[in-house]
Point group: C2
Chain length 249, copies 2
Amino acid sequence: MYHLHYWPGIQGRGEFVRLALEAAGAPYVDIARADEPAGRGMAAMLHYLEDDSIVRPPFACPFLVDGKLVIGQTAAILLYLGPRLGLVGKSEADRLWTHQLQLTIADAVAEVHDTHHPVASRLYYEEQTQEARRRAEDFRKARLPRFLAWFEAVLARNPRNAGRLAGGKGLHLVGARLSYADLSLFQLVEGLLYAFPRATRRHLKKTPGVAALHVAVAQHKRVANYLHSERRFPFSEEGIFRRYPELDG
Amino acid sequence: MYHLHYWPGIQGRGEFVRLALEAAGAPYVDIARADEPAGRGMAAMLHYLEDDSIVRPPFACPFLVDGKLVIGQTAAILLYLGPRLGLVGKSEADRLWTHQLQLTIADAVAEVHDTHHPVASRLYYEEQTQEARRRAEDFRKARLPRFLAWFEAVLARNPRNAGRLAGGKGLHLVGARLSYADLSLFQLVEGLLYAFPRATRRHLKKTPGVAALHVAVAQHKRVANYLHSERRFPFSEEGIFRRYPELDG
């Protein structure tokens, strides 16, 4: 039983781990969302972050506890879970490449966060709206298209996608099977469509492979099940992907 | 022979890889700094970034080429090199923990970059100085101490550092041997001392373990050799760590 620790109430970075666990049908508990009595809830999560007795403390959420192992950093968690959940290829080359894709998705996510918090995470959005407008404009015009174009190139150059790009069925970032990078790219696109609906829809027209992968992942049986469950929280202005219309140009 | 690809003229993110290669005495070529005739130089680097024939293209520099493998993302490169260079423990737990430390250093480095470029990487610093002042203030007051305090806790809780924290000799982030995370923390502190000398010196007084590790790594024989060589470029206002006195408070 995997223990996922993340702030309750939002998808946040925890969602990338949650999607992998759900897509694989793996047994897990979302500790901070669970009831307190059984050593769960927020207190259990804060124990790992704040107690001096934790020899290898995570810097921040999300983190995964698997037996004695405590693993922080979203990409490191997925590096660990990938082989165990069957969500990554077997070769070292495939694993490194999938991890690279994940790290680049993490970079994109950090940039999305900074569109609404370009000055300081600890300040309210309302305290940095002017800066946010400038940063969001650069993100929409320069960074968003650059990230999407790179993922499109990755899909187009994956030899196992040959002949599939037009129809879009069976597309994968790595090899011929679903990987955690596919799930994470789905989540990135889903979040972008929430936060910047106009800009994202416009750019997705130029990256049909990415658009098709996004649709395909949402139709994956266990993922679809999860997305329609109560375990999937809605996007909100408390999370990483926030819809502030003024930032969508 | 490892091929490291990074922008010539600056330390940048390439420096984290360079330090690992140098500390291990590993054979490598800094491709973009090398002469063009032999298939090296900038053209060789841009080939990987821009040519459609690259099946798994890096998103950005630095990237490492080892035979047929092309690995982008600094932390992924170090994940790959760590075991090969003897700069990480043998257990999966040690490797994941060292990687986590590296990913957190990468997060800190990205935040340092954004102190002088809070709006857009493609704009000049002079076009975002107001935003930079606000972001740098938050970095100095909230983020810098938080990162340093976490690394101090990691050093203090490493059982193999017991009894060494006061004197500072032989300190390591993971276990009892030099890892690439030690090298990267050295580089982070070195860069912070360049960019924010006043704020960093002040905070380092409260994190004596981090300060001691920084000194110890600089004295490592091969590292010291490298730091005094022509291969070590100076910090400058073209790199990630930039000294703009107005951002140091």
